[in-house]
Symmetry: C2
Subunit: 343 residues, 2 copies
């Protein structure tokens, strides 16, 4: 069955060749920047290409062993602005380099993730960007063994030594906690993310370290293990605030949970920041929109996306490029959700 859709009038490399009075091989060389073409010939071919409005057929190129000029990207989902920001960074960089983007959502299903990886690497894409992969161990070895170019975004590669870009989670949490301490808070609640993710662990450690540096004793009852989701942020905050001697400030491991915390505080009839200070992590678009605007640790999400892409494109050009992990600095964005505690 012939594809219903193909535009039939697409012109091929052979038409270009005959128009320009050369062979298809020469056109191909021009297309691929092969230096073995006389300048004059090259120019004539390029002119013909433009005149005819020729565009390469990527399936054919790929099939013949070339590249697809497609980068695959695996994301857990698209629900939060968080992922959207990262994709934007990836997308703009790819567009600059003339690559296309194939998007896969795994919905946090490890099986899907592994399947996609297997499929994509069969020639569907030239490289892979894995955003917040769930079980990278399952296939990273495979990817490495086959020298398939890939970059991880925002995953703490535990021991796995491979190209990745992340943010300085530990430092970010440290600074935010320090900021609250400097405001005068001593009972600072902390809500963790999913502790199976390295980023969540690092943020907790940053919090602990800042307390320690300020000679404030760590109190386990001020910490709640949670999941990065809004409702769990809400519930954790409720638990934190309902105990005797409750915290005067709450630091949530991401903005989405901080939003949940704000709901909880309001529902208890308390005010932000007068009664309770709230800090988040990520700086998603909503953070500046909520009222009061949320003080949070900024992750340079768009940057993380574009830098990961640059790393990948480098890897594509030069497979032996150094494959190191890059940590982008986080920064505290002070808005309106924190104040000194009232005695």
């Amino acid at each position: 069955m012939k594809t219903a859709g193909n535009f039939s009038n697409s012109i091929t490399i052979f038409e270009v060749a005959s128009q320009a009075g050369v062979s298809n091989g020469t056109v191909s060389r021009v297309l691929n920047n092969d230096p073995h073409v006389k300048l004059e010939t090259r120019e004539r071919v390029i002119q013909t290409i433009q005149d005819l409005g020729y565009v390469v057929n990527r399936q054919a190129r790929s099939l013949a062993g070339g590249r697809t000029q497609i980068i695959g990207i695996l994301v857990p989902d698209l629900g939060t602005g968080y992922i959207g920001e990262i994709i934007q960074g990836i997308d703009s960089e790819l567009q600059l380099a003339g690559y296309d983007l194939m998007l896969y959502t795994t919905h946090r299903t490890p099986v899907l993730e592994a399947n996609y990886v297997a499929n994509l690497t069969q020639g569907m894409v030239d490289g892979l960007i894995l955003v917040l992969p769930k079980n990278p161990e399952d296939y990273i070895d495979l990817l490495k063994a086959h020298h398939f170019p890939f970059v991880l975004v925002d995953h703490q590669g535990s021991g796995q030594d491979c190209p990745a870009v992340g943010a300085t989670n530990w430092q970010g949490a440290y600074h935010a906690t320090e900021y609250l301490v400097n405001l005068g808070h001593t009972r600072i609640g902390f809500i963790t993310g999913s502790m199976d993710m390295g980023a969540a662990v690092d943020r907790l450690e940053g919090y602990k370290a800042a307390l320690w540096a300020s000679h404030i004793a760590f109190r386990a009852n001020l910490v709640r293990e949670s999941t990065f989701h809004q409702l769990d942020g809400y519930n954790s905050a409720m638990e934190l605030l309902n105990q005797e001697d409750p915290p005067t400030a709450i630091f949530a491991s991401n903005d989405v949970m901080a939003l949940g915390v704000m709901d909880a505080v309001r529902e208890r009839g308390q005010r932000i920041p007068e009664d309770i200070s709230v800090v988040g992590f990520d700086d998603i678009p909503q953070a500046s929109i909520v009222h009061p605007a949320l003080t949070t640790v900024r992750q340079p999400l768009k940057n993380m996306g574009s830098i990961a892409t640059q790393m990948l494109l480098d890897l594509l050009k030069n497979p032996d490029a150094s494959k190191k992990r890059i940590e982008l600095p986080t920064g505290l964005v002070v808005r309106d959700s924190c104040k000194p505690p009232h005695s």
Copy 2:
């Protein structure tokens, strides 16, 4: 140059054929659900496919005139949750049907848009979903002439008679305005979207109709032409509120602008909803998060995405399927941003 990345051990249709003791043609038939295969043979082939872990090479299939099982989707950008919601609907439906998704962002550049369309239709994808296209006139005729399957999302095809899914903009605006009128408002400000988009026009008309039905005179000075962006929503609101005899309620043509309106109201030291009521349009995720939660007209974005996808897949199966426009109902979501005007 051989692709650096391809997993080299990928097995072909010929290996499957020889393992199963049939010809490649038969395997191909099984792969494409051709009925002309003996049941027994089919089962044997399927078994071998599974045993060998064979997956089709889509470039080859496409090149040979088959389908790619890839759907292209063109979106203006990824900045707002709005587009993300639509993509989610598309994506989940595609995943169900075993299609892959190729994502293109046009950044509202008509040139890019037209280029992409031309490229994609050269066999790169089986069908196209155009989300909020900017200048569809440029290529819709082309697509139609070549019988290339496509669906428009949320664009008012002005006269163009082609498959599309949108929402009932007129009705939504009518209801929201009516709601404000019923609360007792008579001076209702309105901020339009980009008037080159059909949806913006329809919303304005809905607003006018509701006023008319309530015997409230339309006043041009209560309307500001704007662009769907937050900052313009803010500026328009400022203008609206700074005139004498200002509105007691403002209806913005989308949520993002409504957020801008809220900023403006607050900056003027007024309260929402006590002093000024605010209504938006879309029901993006932020709408329920802001404080006070925004009363808005819900567009079933995710649904629009999935229904558009279903239409496209239908079109793929049956190119003669009816190509009509579908309007999904909008609904008013009442939250906390409106109150009767205080005398």
